[in-house]
């Protein structure tokens, strides 16, 4: 997970690997100080969203399973920040914040933005009729074609072919959009992962596969899911770039993503980006206690030791964008979710969640009769 693990596999002969390396490190140079502050704000928001849900869940206020994204925020923020509103996403169970992070730059409350609002996402978590899909499926299985988010099933890696279909449509239309799909390292063992990336590679589609390698797939370590040294090596089987990013470093994730995105926009096809990170808690909240059985606590401490918020703030101080005092104003980093308090987060972030949770709580449940609707579409006009 150290910075020096950062490598780029670029089989495309037009782009020699040294050039590639530097290209992959240059995207961040275009970020303005405002961008940096927005990224930090998004990291806080992502963390706080998770923390809040963890607490709500513990208090028994939520149904379903919470797959915490704690410690993996840099992957979500770093991959999404540089996208265009018209690009597509397909998050998985551990990526709940991705739904609102998409196009968040357009403003948290812009109803026309190409991402979901935090309200909508909370409505989904609380299972309300105001959720996208009216809470007919749970947690992260939401999508919205108008917002450029694929609605996933539970079946891991199952949205990659859908992403390929959307990217194929882009190609037919001459549109240079990209589709990012998220997958755990465990999901790379699925057959559909192979079929879909194979198809995308053959047709040079703008599909970018983000692998959140948090070392564990539920109770199974990565070595039992993937035989290669790095999960990124899977890319070699398709002659596509397999990049490795430091998943704790939002700027490294951002660089690698932008490199792959720009390449895809130029019609050069898919990439795979392995973001190395570590799952902070149990697989889901139901697994928090059992996880201690299969994960050694030293490893867990080590895995959590590079908090992405801390890593980024240090960089911002180094860049002179934040003073040390500003960096220390809010300090959720390094704390267990339930040890954090609202004071650890910027008031605007706390307020945004408060409002969203209220919206969710006050939203109506779907009517039972809805259950029988929308099995089939009526004939279109």
């Amino acid at each position: 997970m150290a910075k020096d693990s950062t490598t780029v596999t670029e089989p495309d002969s037009q782009a020699p690997s040294t050039e590639t390396q530097s290209a992959a490190n240059r995207a961040r140079d275009l970020l303005t100080p405002e961008d940096h502050l927005e990224i930090l704000r998004q990291l806080y928001l992502t963390r706080y969203f998770d923390v809040r849900l963890i607490k709500e869940k513990r208090r028994g206020r939520l149904r379903g399973t919470l797959y915490s994204s704690h410690n993996q925020e840099a992957i979500l923020v770093g991959t999404i920040f540089g996208l265009r509103p018209t690009d597509w996403l397909s998050p998985i169970h551990r990526d709940m914040p991705a739904f609102f992070l998409k196009d968040l730059k357009s403003g948290w409350d812009d109803p026309n933005r190409m991402g979901m609002s935090i309200q909508e996402v909370c409505a989904q978590v609380w299972g309300k009729a105001t959720a996208p899909g009216r809470a007919r499926d749970n947690w992260s299985h939401i999508g919205d074609a108008e917002k450029g988010i694929i609605c996933s099933t539970s079946m891991l890696a199952g949205t990659i072919p859908v992403a390929a279909g959307i990217a194929y449509d882009f190609k037919l239309r001459g549109f240079d959009g990209v589709v990012l799909t998220y997958n755990g390292e465990g999901a790379t063992a699925q057959g559909i992962f192979h079929e879909a990336i194979n198809f995308a590679a053959i047709h040079k589609l703008g599909v970018i596969t983000i692998i959140e390698n948090n070392q564990w797939a539920y109770g199974t370590p990565v070595e039992l899911e993937c035989p290669t040294k790095d999960v990124a090596d899977r890319a070699k089987g398709y002659d596509i770039p397999g990049l490795i990013a430091d998943g704790q470093d939002v700027l490294d994730v951002y660089d690698k993503t932008m490199w792959a995105v720009e390449r895809a926009r130029r019609g050069k096809g898919p990439s795979l980006i392995e973001c190395k990170t570590f799952r902070a808690y149990g697989h889901g909240d139901h697994d928090d206690d059992r996880a201690a059985k299969y994960r050694n606590s030293d490893d867990v401490d080590k895995g959590r030791s590079r908090d992405p918020i801390a890593v980024y703030k240090a960089e911002l101080v180094r860049l002179g964008i934040l003073s040390q005092a500003e960096a220390d104003a809010y300090k959720p980093e390094g704390k267990h979710a339930i040890e954090t308090t609202d004071e650890d987060f910027p008031p605007a972030v706390v307020a945004a969640l408060k409002e969203a949770v209220e919206f969710a709580v006050n939203s109506p449940m779907p009517e039972p009769d809805e259950a029988f609707r929308w099995v089939f579409a009526e004939d279109q006009p």
């Binding site: 074609a145 079929e195 879909a196 809805e370």
Partner: protein, 334 residues
């Protein structure tokens, strides 16, 4: 029209399918076809012959041997509003794309509460009687009839092949379309196909009116049932043959009406027996017309075995004119 001209206008089942595809591809420039060997080759059976020449390799995709990806890609294209035809080279291979069909395509409209519908037709050659063995003879429609959100269609005449495929391609929902490959080029079922032929999904067809026993069927066995009816008419049993054509949604009305008249019914499907579609038809009849039944509704189906390859074994397990006659006689004489 002279007899000669009328003869010339007769078309086979495969031609009906091809016409539907060509016309829809022509009428809707956003439509895409995807499948194994459908382009350069024109399809294993030639159903897509000429499509790639006309519409190019971008709209007619020669897919890798990846049934699951074919369906998944079709979902993505359909989410973008494109009608998609996805071919399974044999419908038997649909099991390799099963998850994407039943869990992803079938439920998308439901999961998005009516926001995203998927105009996809997954079609392919199906059925036995051709000596194809366990993996080139399946009619596995019951799996999909049991998966809410999918329409299921199986035409048995050239005109229905065209009319139902057209309707399926225009339907906003995913449709699993069973083509009967033994009928593709069968000469004695050729018939003229009206221009712009469209057969709405969900309407059965009475292939032979009769008063004594109702036979409900679809696909290739429709012809066995017609043959059986002819044989039995000499025994004084007047059989009504209903070809369901669409299984989901099923035309309950036509079936029930018929039973109100005949009070006796036999249901024939060529798939294996347990949990086949015939069982569903019988359950519905019980629910909707129990009082009208004067005899037990019987099933004629494939035995609960795979379809064996060698001819005498295949013949032994599949419905035959004989086994259909037997069942009809039993209910007629009950």
């Amino acid at each position: 029209m002279s007899v000669v001209a009328e003869q010339a206008a007769k078309k086979n089942y495969l031609a009906g399918l091809r016409e539907a595809l060509l016309e829809e591809m022509e009428a809707r420039p956003d439509m895409v076809c995807i499948g194994e060997d459908i382009g350069l080759l024109g399809g294993a059976f030639g159903v897509t012959e000429g499509l790639m020449e006309r519409y190019g390799p971008q709209r007619v995709i020669d897919a890798p041997i990846s049934e699951a990806a074919i369906v998944g890609v079709a979902i993505g294209l359909a989410m973008q509003g494109r009608p998609v035809m996805a071919e399974m080279q044999f419908i038997d291979f649909i099991s390799c794309g099963f998850d994407q069909i039943v869990n992803n395509a079938a439920t998308m409209y439901y999961r998005t509460a009516g926001k995203v519908n998927l105009p996809i037709v997954i079609r392919g050659p199906s059925g036995g009687y051709g000596g194809g063995g366990p993996y080139h003879s399946q009619q596995n429609e019951a799996w999909f009839a049991h998966s809410p959100g999918l329409k299921v269609v199986c035409p048995s005449t050239p005109a229905d092949a065209k009319g139902l495929l057209t309707a399926s391609l225009r339907d906003p929902n995913p449709v699993i379309f069973y083509e009967v490959k033994e009928l593709y080029r069968k000469r004695d079922i050729e018939e003229p196909i009206p221009d712009n032929h469209f057969v709405p999904l969900g309407s059965a067809s009475i292939r032979r009116p009769g008063n004594d026993v109702t036979v409900v069927t679809y696909g290739n066995p429709a012809y066995l049932c017609l043959q059986a009816s002819d044989e039995l008419s000499s025994e004084g049993i007047d059989v009504e043959v209903i070809d369901l054509r669409t299984l989901v949604p099923m035309d309950d009305e036509t079936v029930i009406q018929s039973i109100r008249k005949t009070n006796r019914v036999v249901v024939v499907n060529e798939a294996s027996r347990t949990c086949g579609f015939a069982a569903e038809v019988i359950a519905r009849i019980n629910e909707m017309a129990f009082e009208y039944l004067d005899a037990p509704p019987l099933r004629v189906t494939r035995a609960d075995t795979p379809v064996p390859w060698v001819k005498p074994l295949e013949t032994a397990v599949l419905p035959s004119v004989e086994s259909i006659c037997d069942a009809i006689r039993r209910v007629a004489r009950f």
